[in-house]
Symmetry: C2
Subunit: 490 residues, 2 copies
């Protein structure tokens, strides 16, 4: 167990916060609910951004940038959207400060009140669809496939680093299509992109499905989502992709002339993932020794630590370290040689272990003589001494093994914490233990709401690839054709 780190057993919530803050991922700022993303945390986010951005571009999307502020009146145009978003938000009312006459420092200049208040964007459907009206006239202008990397603000009362913050970073895709089918296909495609990213890059297995009406995005016709299971048995929504129908096109009057020369409303999707994924990453893989990072996202994949007793050894081992570093870098590996002479090897071991570096190479005087290196892997904490020869190939292989192992471990955890439940008593008992519960549901919002009130469990999703199966609702006993997935969630 790492120093100053709560264990998951003791206090899961504190363990999470300890890792995020002490591994230098993020911290709370002086502004309530807003976080500072520290360089090490931001480097992980940059790697996530880079890969997602590539996936978006490979599927034909382009980036653009829309205003931070949204006129208040825009929110009223889509009825369910305003209910979902316009309430808890940052409102800009003035555009100037002035020196107080009575010497109280700077105060808001009441003479500089905005005619219409501006909302700091909680999501950008409204301002974007207001813009699309001028961009779309004909079917030739479609599809419009645009993504934006941006900050957004939702005034959350209880905040937690990465998981729920007043300001967060995200990407939001907003696409426009000529047909319903094309828009649905786009929403489904982006869900597949998110699932592939979560599984192949973050090593987080996810369930794919659609939300029940209660849990849908405000303004969506269908919300597709991926859901992951955290180590405390709670679910985390890791990404959503919405089929918006013609709701926003109608609200903002976006019509196009079809091939058949008919004026029609445009079909829409939107989809997003956020810095919340950083929270999922931490909670899926980390242990009581600190952060564990999948190699594909680790800013440092390999750390080299020299072990020495005197200056002469220090020089010779650092030389060897630099040589290995170069060799590994040539193989495309991100390497740090920790040649600080102000810290002992033990301190360095702990530090890099805590920060989740996937592979540690230690080189001592005997290694120099024998042409060996001690290789430690962060996921299993196993160590072995290897011959230096072909070390680049060995490390490349090991990194790929670690990536796979982390995914498999998380998958095994999810599988052993997913339960088919058929009675209400069992449901209530199981939900206390955590995990995904597959149960029948009668399809009514009332039943869903009653279950939520009694157990705090929500329907995480209705599986996309779920098998049809006749059954009876675990709560109401009414007939059901398919199990849905329940859990308590972040």
């Amino acid at each position: 167990m790492a120093k100053d780190l709560s264990t998951r057993e003791e206090n899961y919530s504190q363990w999470y916060t300890d890792i995020v803050t002490k591994a230098d991922l993020a911290e709370n700022s002086a502004v309530r609910g807003c976080m500072v993303i520290k360089p090490y945390g931001y480097a992980i986010w940059e790697r996530m951004q880079a890969e997602l951005d590539k996936m978006f571009k490979d599927t034909g999307h382009q980036n653009a940038y829309f205003p931070l502020f949204i006129p208040k009146s825009f929110f009223s145009k889509e009825a369910s959207h305003v209910e979902g978003f316009a309430k808890e938000c940052a409102v800009v009312t003035h555009y100037r400060l002035k020196n107080d006459k009575n010497g109280k420092g700077i105060v808001v200049d009441e003479a500089a009140r905005l005619e219409e208040e501006l909302i700091v964007r909680p999501t950008s459907e409204t301002i974007i669809w207001d813009t699309y009206r001028n961009w779309i006239q004909s079917y030739r202008d479609l599809p419009l496939l645009i993504n934006q990397w941006a900050n957004v603000v939702r005034w959350e009362m209880r905040t937690r680093l990465f998981l729920r913050t007043a300001e967060f970073l995200w990407q939001e895709g907003h696409t426009a299509h000529a047909t319903r089918e094309e828009a649905v296909a786009e929403a489904e495609q982006m869900l597949r992109v998110y699932a592939a990213f979560a599984e192949e890059w973050m090593a987080i297995p996810v369930l794919r499905g659609v939300k029940s009406a209660n849990e849908r995005f405000a303004g969506a016709v269908e919300t597709y989502c991926i859901e992951a299971l955290m180590q405390d048995g709670k679910a985390l929504q890791a990404g959503t992709s919405h089929f918006l129908g013609q709701n926003f096109a109608k609200a903002f009057d976006v019509q196009f002339l079809s091939k058949e020369n008919k004026l029609e409303y445009v079909w829409a999707t939107s989809w997003g993932v956020s810095t919340r994924l950083m929270g999922a990453l931490v909670m899926t893989h980390s242990d009581d020794n600190g952060l564990v990072l999948p190699p594909k996202l680790a800013p440092i994949q390999v750390v080299i630590v020299p072990i020495y007793r005197n200056e002469e050894q220090y020089q010779a081992i650092c030389d060897k370290g630099r040589e290995i570093k170069q060799m590994l870098e040539k193989a495309g590996i991100r390497v740090k040689l920790d040649d600080r002479d102000t810290q002992k090897p033990g301190f360095k071991f702990n530090e890099w272990e805590f920060k989740g570096v996937p592979v540690r190479l230690a080189i001592g005087p005997r290694d120099l003589e024998n042409s060996t290196v001690e290789v430690a892997r962060r996921d299993t904490l196993e160590k072995e001494v290897l011959q230096m020869q072909d070390i680049d190939q060995k490390v490349t292989h090991l990194l790929s093994q670690i990536q796979q192992n982390l995914f498999q471990k998380a998958l095994d955890f999810r599988n052993s914490n997913t339960f088919k439940v058929d009675s209400w008593e069992e449901f209530k008992a199981k939900i206390e233990e955590g995990g995904f519960i597959e149960a029948h549901w009668d399809g009514s919002p009332e039943t869903e709401q009653a279950i939520k009130e009694e157990t705090k469990a929500t329907i995480r999703l209705i599986p996309l690839d779920g098998q049809m199966e006749e059954g009876h609702c675990v709560y109401s006993g009414k007939p059901s054709k398919q199990r849905v997935v329940f859990a308590r969630a972040y």
Copy 2:
């Protein structure tokens, strides 16, 4: 002259706006003073970001992210900073909307007033130095070399796309150092980085220097800057790097224990460039036919346009086009094959010319027979027919020539519009013509202010590499040791 484009001669300002909007770089949004950066414009910005980010990382900087909001009181802590920034800004006063009781839609909930107003960051020195207080204890924590990519808001009354907008995108570096010398060296290093980027990537020659006291950043001890000359003879500040002394460390109480075990205030720099550079790019190279882009920043470097009369020719030529595209892409060139069969070649020629694509390849039936291709370059509008053989090498060479030519052309323009002036009469006459004026100045803010009031010219910079030369102030006649550079500026 391109259709619907004002010429520079007719109306320079309208010409600029026409290019920005009609080449699909950006447009005004529904929110006063805020722009929408369109995909084509954003793709250029992304290329600029990517290269700058690499340059920052190569010089040891890391990215991080700090909050969008800054508590009002933070601005009061650094006296000159508040004067410079806190006045014209977006102020968040409330955090909730509600449905109006009288059915007037949604209104600001007066019960949700913030205890302390939040300012949408106009720049982040205050929030960052408030954070650094906890990050810096000892000389071992220094230097701290951090950059942030972010949006900022300054409530400008008169706005112009890219050049002056209420919200803009930028990067802001904020570094902390143990000594004055180190901080000065950092500020100077980042000026060199900006100058290299402007000249090598944007093909914009820049003067390097420091600002006079009047023109310094609010809170800086010294402001280094690069200045470029636009085609209308006005100067544009293209980047600034500030040596902040210990001003922010003192304002936010950031001290460190030195190697000598003494408690000392930390030395600071900050430096930034913004989407304003997009404006400089447009105004430096473009002509009356539209946008002209330097190849290194062009999202599309080469466009291939097939010329055909019938379906059979269309297929054969498109096949050839795809083949050339692949060959060029293999050489690292960004290529678009415009195989739309809904538009005529002439339309395509105009469109890509207007959008500034550096090289156009046209392939017709005779080219197929003769194994040739017509190559047109955007900078000179010259065309020639080349043999298809080794076309990848030929185009690579041409792109590099165009990059150099654009720089040289801009440099020639600047040189022929830079004047040494020694009398006040001449100064007043020359400033009307535009260009950089090198003149002696007595060093007093009063004289600088008087010159500004009479001529609208400001001191753009005091050259860093300027030769010492005895002379007399062009305005006051008092002695001077060095010429400074005056101009009217954006």
